[in-house]
Symmetry: C2
């Protein structure tokens, strides 16, 4: 079958199914999610078997260890997929929420109603759990989804899709509410991200290469998740203990996440007081430091940071450190090098905290807290489909609400315009 | 000067000026808007002179009467530009608004802060008043703007730009907060709508041709304003008087606006009761009716509506009329032919009203009110930059809030992630 025809058919089916799921009652959607969880639990042996096939093929194809780890399912990971779906079922339904209704001088009553976007395309890589997560979030938010996973997880994704379809059928929802692509042809991705008539938004979840390709080619709007070059700025009015705790936690609590700090900025007035103690803690943890000249003057054995370092998302136990004159220089550095994901200031100065919050233009801006808090669960969204570094629609962690929009509703009693 | 270089320079300047206006205090922005209004009032003779030049050229170039009318300024129109700017000054400042702050179990406090988008590109056609309106709305919402008006209004736009720049200088804001393009080269538009690094969103204001070109070429997100194929559906549980009033007003209150009804759907159970009286009123007003076979059977002298009619935004005293079995068929028709702008139902049935509100997927959905209410002033936004038929970000009339976004802010007291 021709790939473009295939994707077009997926799109048409999704558009139709989107209408059914948009008007589905909350109880039906929740029942579907719980049924999906049960089907996944029940199918654990089949899921592990399909996954073993993918892992074997992956090894034969020379996938690296990190990729194989992301690909692999085990009983805990299967259970965690099911748990995730039950958590989504427990979240409030965003669809139909009415807000801001007020009477206008004309006598009409105007407000907004939250509505699904329609059809969401999710493009992801090796982790098979995204199939269940993304399907669940799209369904709860009243959207049909077209899921395109990585070719390395093909059998796992198809096995998860079978569970999802069994569950949809059990509550009387059309199977096309969630469609998992049955082709690994790369041309199918190009077709999906340019099919404006059938797809309302694309959410890519994957590495830099995938995201950049989609940004370049897509004509459908994309909820973009760029890399995270996150900064912590230790102001000279910072509390030293808080500064040490936040700078250490932001870097070392996990290395491979997008909200991990990659560059530490330190006001020169406090550098002597915090850097040596912090460097000792990093050293103990095995974090390599790369610093500016001033940092090198304070700390021994720090290699010189290049301009490349300020632009790098290490995702590893490496940290670049720069001493700045004060907040102006810190904000300038962030403006120049940040990817707009998450930045934090450590300060006890009220006006500087206010200024940092207002002037730093990132999706999350923090005062006296670790950058590692920037995710949907920590923010109380219940779950997230990604973290947006877009400027329009949604910035930061995107949960159910980010998969919806608001239309205006107007109530009258025969009102006409004079 | 090379056009691409020129637009690139505009973009770089806008990006820098965007930082200044993003952090400008509300009082400064309001003072700038009032100063703009005063400068425009004071420069009335110059504005009229520059405009006369455009009108003369337009006549020489054979512009049609409608276009010339849109192009022409007179003392009232100049005053109305100034008044519009004062109204924007009086609106609440959306920037920095903090909402939803709440404590999380981890102890951090999380909420959202409303922030400017950054740099907004406005592309418009003949009406010179858009220069002042758009500049004012972008400025108040904390954004820098790059304005590209139609070549036919070139001298008028430059004269308005001079007033704006005088005003910006008088309050100490950089001139680059509002840049009006000094070239009419079409390549400049292409450069602007693909300059993702410097422009955050494009708002086109103009005819179908302009919008379609931008939709096709833009890589910068676009707040799209498609045409308005708006429907009124008269349900068989409608109050006859309300139905007559709303159907008449939705079509005839103004013909050339995007929220004017273009197709009337009537439930067959009420068609005999409303259509003859309605047709008489339309006839008196000079509205031509085009109908389905059933409509033709009820009304004399109605020509047959073709499939083309259901897809046409007449912007004229022409109305297509279709009799449907009931709400299912009405919603199906709307789904197929609506442009997603505005639809209204006339009904006294509670459940049907609820259903129409939920299931009709347009930017404004109304019960017992005229479609003509769908605009920013009527909705209380104070002003509008356009009406969005997008699904993401903003749907319906876009005021100051639609020119902003929300970032997350996190307040802690040394909190780290466990």
């Amino acid at each position: 079958m021709d790939v473009n025809e295939y994707v077009k058919t997926l799109g048409e089916h999704a558009r139709q199914a989107g209408r059914a799921i948009a008007k589905a009652e909350t109880a039906t959607k929740n029942a579907a999610l719980v049924a999906m969880a049960e089907a996944i639990e029940l199918a654990q042996p089949e899921l592990l078997k399909a996954n073993a096939q993918d892992v074997e093929l992956g090894k034969a194809n020379g996938l690296d260890a990190a990729l194989l780890d992301r690909l692999e399912l085990n009983p805990e990971r299967v259970q965690s997929m099911a748990d995730g779906l039950r958590q989504i079922a427990a979240l409030p339904d965003p669809v139909g929420e009415i807000s801001g209704m007020s009477y206008r001088p004309s006598g009409i009553q105007v407000g907004k109603m939250r509505v699904p976007l329609g059809v969401i395309g999710i493009i992801y890589e090796s982790r098979p759990n995204v199939t269940a997560d993304a399907a669940g979030l799209c369904l709860k938010s009243g959207n049909a989804s077209i899921l395109r996973g990585g070719s390395e997880a093909f059998h796992s994704n198809q096995a998860i899709a079978a569970c999802i379809h069994k569950a949809l059928a059990s509550v009387g929802l059309p199977a096309e509410v969630v469609q998992v692509m049955e082709t690994t042809d790369r041309a199918a991705v190009s077709a999906l991200i340019t099919m404006s008539e059938a797809v309302d938004v694309i959410v890519p979840r994957g590495g830099q290469g995938l995201i950049e390709r989609i940004a370049r080619e897509a004509t459908v709007p994309v909820i973009m998740h760029l890399h995270g070059i996150c900064h912590v700025y230790i102001d000279d009015k910072a509390d030293t203990e808080k500064a040490l705790a936040i700078a250490f936690n932001s870097k070392t609590q996990r290395y491979g996440t997008c909200n991990t700090m990659e560059t530490l900025l330190v006001a020169e007035g406090i550098a002597d007081a915090v850097l040596p103690a912090l460097a000792a803690r990093y050293k103990e943890k095995g974090v390599e430091l790369r610093g500016c000249q001033q940092t090198q003057a304070i700390l021994d054995g720090v290699i010189a940071a290049t301009d490349e370092d300020w632009q790098t998302e290490y995702l590893a136990p490496i940290l670049s450190v720069r001493i700045v004159a004060g907040m102006d220089e810190a904000i300038d550095h962030i403006r120049r090098y940040s990817s707009g994901h998450t930045e934090a200031v450590v300060t006890d100065d009220y006006s500087r905290a206010r200024r940092f919050l207002r002037e730093v233009d990132s999706s999350s801006v923090m005062v006296n807290a670790s950058t590692r808090f920037a995710d949907g669960f920590e923010y109380g969204l219940g779950a997230e489909i990604g973290i947006s570094t877009n400027k329009i629609h949604a910035r930061g962690p995107v949960g159910l609400e980010g998969l919806t929009s608001q239309k205006y509703i107007v109530l009258g009693d025969g009102h006409i315009r004079g």
